[in-house]
């Protein structure tokens, strides 16, 4: 997926990214959940409800009557918002930076030092010079799981976000610094009223769906109505959208978003995927699942696409092939947008990371995420460097042990802190993560604006403190069997709990380390590997005691409200703190970035004190790339999930 045409790829990517952000926030977010690539492919259906709980009045106000456009224009003082072309932005950024190596040099380097990594990223991350890209090229991408749906508003897993990024239509996007903008490939202008309650967007008039019908503002307004209909099982994209008061198309090109409140997050709430109205308006009322009726089944196989690519074939469990559509870049015989850099994008579905690495080494796939062990021991020889190279960059994905606070074990904050003191953080970072990952102490990425200036001290093992805290909390060995216990409701309850984890050896190793550490101080852990979807279900039902899991950060800190606020859907720990609840609401209402940051920094401090999670590490991006690939640039959300993201990748023309 190197570049799609600049415009198209951007749109799609931006939308997708935004969605990912949203999904993180609200629903369980397969995309957000930071499983390893394959694990990420988890369908998370029951998310729909979460959005509803997050914001009190989610139902569409049927009564909302949009005022006339003249009235709005007369009353509002418009502030122009950025409309940008992501590739142009990236090109300008790259032109300003000196190259650290030539392409030829970079291709001979082994990525074993930070300076070599920087050289590889610098030289191979460049956009193509005029005519240098092979526009007939195909890229074979690796995904770890199949699609649940190809319908843009039913997406929830990582693979679905990946595909939608290329086939879907979107108005908004965000760049490498996660700053939002309107996409110049689809949008002419974007204005926000000075009171922050209205967004006005003018669409371009040269946009068509893959069936040749024009894409208009009415499609967007129609999609909003479908998303907000409670009968439609929307897993991810309703969160955010439900904060809107209404969306109205005044003509084919003029679109107005009405907000309930001037929130800092409004800019994310107006970013959702778009359905073709002419296709769905006849069918969706009869089959609100959007999946079951014959018409919808046919659309599932061959969706009408608004992005630069369309799906041409699909073998379940094996591959999905996308092809660039000409009607994206050329409309009515005129070239209106750049041509995406790849003609075909083939997604190969390979679950097992070892199998995927073999496929990468033999040239069957062009890119994949590498596990720490793969990075350190299996991609260092000629066998790997013959066809490939690799690169790394920081990424906002963190992992933790989540405690179920409703169980007798973890209700007490002292016990949760004791867990952190008991765990051998250093050994995990050094021996299991092989020094590749950064320690994680809190929920916001260090150095990001929301984390605040204060640096939280990462956990450090201190068994004496751990034992003292457990003693203090009443967990001592009353019955002399070497295991701590406590009298609860007249019964002696031994401190023995089950720790759930998915079936990846890397994660099991971390859980086994906790087991070993806790056994030293008389606490018994039963490590139980379970299959990914079963794990997710258990977490949603909150019928676990402890589990190993991770989150990918959303684009905005507000996206994590549904992880920490009392009673929220993704608050699997059952954490509740009125101050945190209040700070999230305040943070959303606060428009000044600096003052907002203070709110979120305070939230992070409170969470650090309360330790609802035992935070473990930030997982950076580690990717293997074919030597034929160019143009990969990393953001805090990895090399693909922003704008241009995947759109900047390309393959050079054969000499």
């Amino acid at each position: 997926m190197p570049h799609h045409s600049a415009g198209s790829r951007r749109c799609s990517i931006s939308r997708r990214v935004a969605l990912t952000g949203l999904s993180l926030l609200f629903f369980g977010g397969c995309g957000q959940r930071t499983n390893e690539p394959r694990l990420v492919a988890e369908p998370e259906a029951p998310a729909a409800a979460s959005g509803a709980t997050a914001t009190p009045p989610p139902a569409v106000e049927e009564s909302f009557e949009p005022p006339a456009l003249e009235t709005i224009d007369r009353d509002a003082r418009w502030i122009d918002r950025p409309v940008k072309d992501a590739l142009t932005l990236l090109r300008a950024e790259q032109d300003a930076e000196p190259l650290k190596a030539t392409v030829a040099e970079a291709l001979t380097l082994r990525n074993d030092t930070p300076s070599n990594n920087a050289a590889i990223l610098s030289a191979l991350g460049q956009l193509p010079a005029e005519g240098a890209a092979d526009l007939e090229a195909r890229i074979d991408r690796h995904v770890a799981g199949d699609l649940g749906s190809t319908n843009p508003i039913l997406i929830s897993s990582n693979a679905e976000f990946d595909i939608l990024g290329l086939t879907g239509f979107g108005l908004f996007s965000f760049d490498r610094q996660l700053e939002p903008f309107a996409n110049a490939e689809t949008v002419v202008s974007w204005q926000t009223s000075a009171d922050g309650l209205i967004d006005k967007v003018v669409l371009r008039d040269d946009l068509v769906w893959s069936d040749g019908r024009p894409i208009t503002a009415h499609d967007v307004a129609f999609t909003y109505r479908v998303i907000m209909d409670p009968r439609v099982p929307v897993p991810a994209v309703r969160s955010g959208t439900d904060q809107l008061r209404g969306v109205h198309a005044y003509d084919d090109r003029t679109l107005v978003f009405f907000h309930r409140e001037p929130l800092a997050t409004n800019v994310w709430n107006i970013n959702f995927p778009v359905l073709p109205q002419h296709v769905y308006e006849k069918t969706w009322e009869d089959d609100p699942t959007l999946k079951d009726s014959p018409a919808h089944v046919a659309l599932e196989e061959k969706p009408i696409c608004g992005g630069p690519y369309e799906i041409v074939s699909r073998k379940r469990g094996q591959e999905i092939v996308l092809r660039r559509r000409d009607s994206w870049s050329t409309v009515k015989g005129k070239k209106v947008r750049d041509v995406p850099y790849f003609r075909d994008v083939r997604f190969r579905i390979i679950e097992d990371p070892n199998t995927a690495l073999l496929a990468l080494k033999s040239g069957e796939i062009d890119e994949m995420v590498l596990q720490p062990e793969q990075w350190t021991t299996q991609t260092i020889d000629d066998d790997f460097y013959r066809l490939n190279t690799k690169a790394t960059a920081p990424e906002w994905v963190s992992f933790h042990f989540a405690w179920n606070i409703d169980t007798p074990f973890f209700a007490d904050r002292r016990v949760r802190r004791a867990m952190s003191y008991a765990f051998d953080h250093d050994r995990m970072l050094e021996k299991i993560c092989l020094g590749l990952y950064e320690p994680c102490a809190g929920n916001f990425p260090p150095g990001s604006w929301m984390a605040g200036p204060k640096k939280l001290a990462p956990g450090k093992q201190d068994l004496d403190k751990a034992e003292a805290l457990l003693d203090e909390a009443g967990w001592t060995d009353h019955d002399n069997d070497g295991i701590r216990d406590k009298e609860i409701d007249g019964r002696i309850v031994p401190f023995e709990f089950t720790l759930l984890v998915n079936q990846q050896p890397f994660r099991i190793a971390i859980c086994t380390l906790l087991k070993e550490n806790l056994e030293q101080i008389g606490v018994i852990v039963n490590v139980r590997p379970v299959e990914v979807t079963a794990l997710q279900e258990t977490m949603q039902k909150r019928s676990f005691q402890a589990c190993f899991s991770g989150w990918g950060s959303g684009t905005d800190p507000d996206t994590s409200e549904n992880i920490w606020k009392t009673g929220e859907m993704r608050n699997y720990s059952g954490y509740s703190n009125p101050e945190v609840d209040r700070l999230f609401v305040e943070g959303r209402r606060e428009l000044d970035r600096g003052r907002r940051a203070e709110k979120y920094a305070r939230i992070q401090e409170i969470l650090y004190e309360d330790q609802p999670y035992l935070w473990l590490f930030w997982r950076n991006s580690f990717y293997g790339f074919s030597k034929d690939l160019r143009g990969y640039v990393f953001s805090p959300r990895g090399p693909y999930h922003y704008s241009p993201g995947f759109g900047s990748l390309w393959k050079p023309r054969a000499e």
């Binding site: 990371p353 070892n354 062990e373 350190t376 021991t377 299996q378 021996k431 299991i432 092989l434 068994l463 034992e467 060995d477 002399n480 069997d481 070497g482 295991i483 089950t498 079936q503 050896p505 099991i508 190793a509 859980c511 086994t512 087991k515 070993e516 056994e519 030293q520 101080i521 008389g522 018994i524 039963n526 490590v527 139980r528 590997p529 379970v530 299959e531 079963a534």
Partner: protein, 355 residues
């Protein structure tokens, strides 16, 4: 019954002894039993026997069941490491240590044992004098894992085939002896159970149970693996129940239970023992396969299959393949040789064919 049919069994043993491979196989299984029983004394980090604060303890029993590990060491904050703590907390103490100071469940840390370096992790754990069979990715000693895994391998075979043998003989005996509609019922039951895919059932059960353990696996293998034994027993009973001595027993007033247990079973046992022996081999393979796929005993487990599983991600770590692979191969081979020897020693037709 034992001495009454001793002539037959003594004869069988005499014939069995003539097969050197069979004897070697028996010896190998015997060796495994010894290793399994004395596993904590062969490899471990807990003293086999120690004197601490004036009393004798055997902390190594904790490897069999953690409740057997004396609580005084937890109280005195030993935190799982004995050598230095013993000396520090009671200078008068002494201890008898296992032959190899390595733990099957965790890597030995630097200087835990005087002068011994930390176990190497990832792909650095080549076999050395400190780690006879190398270490796995987590730094856990493979030799210790293999020694303690012997218990699992043997238990899986004996327990699951014990269950299967009991059910199979009872069901087969009832069906074969009574015949008629009872036989129809037991035969259909056997056929139904034959249709249950063991592997799928194990995966399903593991998903359902709160705390799945190796015992569940054994039980499932046992409860689904008795069909062959039942069919063989039924055949034998059908054959023998028509013989003169059974008729004679019946004429002298013996009840059905007495006839079945005293008269028919001893004469039917020899051919039934053969599939049980082969079944033990199959059960060991099934358990190793499950552990290899990651569905075996919960981590950190010391089963042979789970060591093999570690090699999946990096085949360059040959010691994770060779040692457990050889152990599984030899054990399965040994049981098969025993089964074959038993078959030849007890089946007169095979003996005739040999001549």
């Amino acid at each position: 019954m034992a001495h009454r049919s001793s002539g037959f069994w003594a004869e069988a043993w005499r014939r069995y002894r003539r097969r050197p491979l069979g004897i070697a196989a028996l010896g190998f299984v015997g060796l495994l039993v010894v290793i399994a029983v004395f596993a904590p004394a062969i490899a471990g980090t807990k003293p086999v026997l120690c004197r601490y604060k004036g009393r004798l303890y055997a902390p190594c029993l904790g490897y069999f069941d953690r409740r057997l590990e004396p609580a005084i060491f937890a109280k005195d904050k030993f935190r799982g490491t004995y050598p230095k703590n013993l000396a520090a907390k009671d200078p008068e103490s002494w201890a008898i240590w296992p032959l190899v100071f390595q733990d099957p469940y965790r890597p030995v840390r630097a200087d835990e044992w005087p002068g011994r370096p930390e176990n190497p992790a990832m792909d650095q754990g080549h076999p050395t004098w400190s780690n006879l069979f190398g270490t796995d990715q987590g730094g856990v000693d493979v030799f210790a894992k293999m020694v303690h895994g012997t218990t699992i391998a043997l238990l899986v075979g004996f327990v699951s085939m014990g269950i299967a043998g009991t059910i199979g003989i009872v069901v087969g005996a009832i069906g074969g002896f009574f015949g008629g509609w009872i036989d129809s019922v037991t035969s259909r039951l056997t056929e139904i159970v034959m249709c249950i895919p063991t592997l799928v059932l194990i995966l399903a059960i593991v998903a359902i149970i709160e705390k799945p353990s190796i015992w569940h696996t054994m039980a499932i293998i046992g409860f689904t693996g008795w069909t062959g034994i039942a069919r063989l027993t039924r055949g034998e009973f059908l054959r023998i129940r028509g013989s003169e001595y059974v008729t004679a027993a019946r004429a002298s007033g013996a009840g059905p239970l007495r006839i079945m247990v005293r008269h028919i079973l001893p004469n039917a046992l020899a051919p039934i023992l053969v599939p049980i022996t082969f079944g033990i081999a199959a059960a060991i393979l099934t358990e190793s396969g499950l552990s290899f796929l990651g569905f075996g005993s919960p981590p950190p487990s010391a089963s042979w299959g789970s060591v093999l599983n570690g090699a999946r991600s990096n085949l360059a770590m040959w010691w994770l393949v060779v040692f457990p692979g050889t152990a599984i191969f030899l054990t399965v081979l040994a049981y098969n040789l025993i089964g074959e020897g038993l078959q030849e020693a007890t089946d007169p037709r095979l003996r005739e064919a040999r001549k």
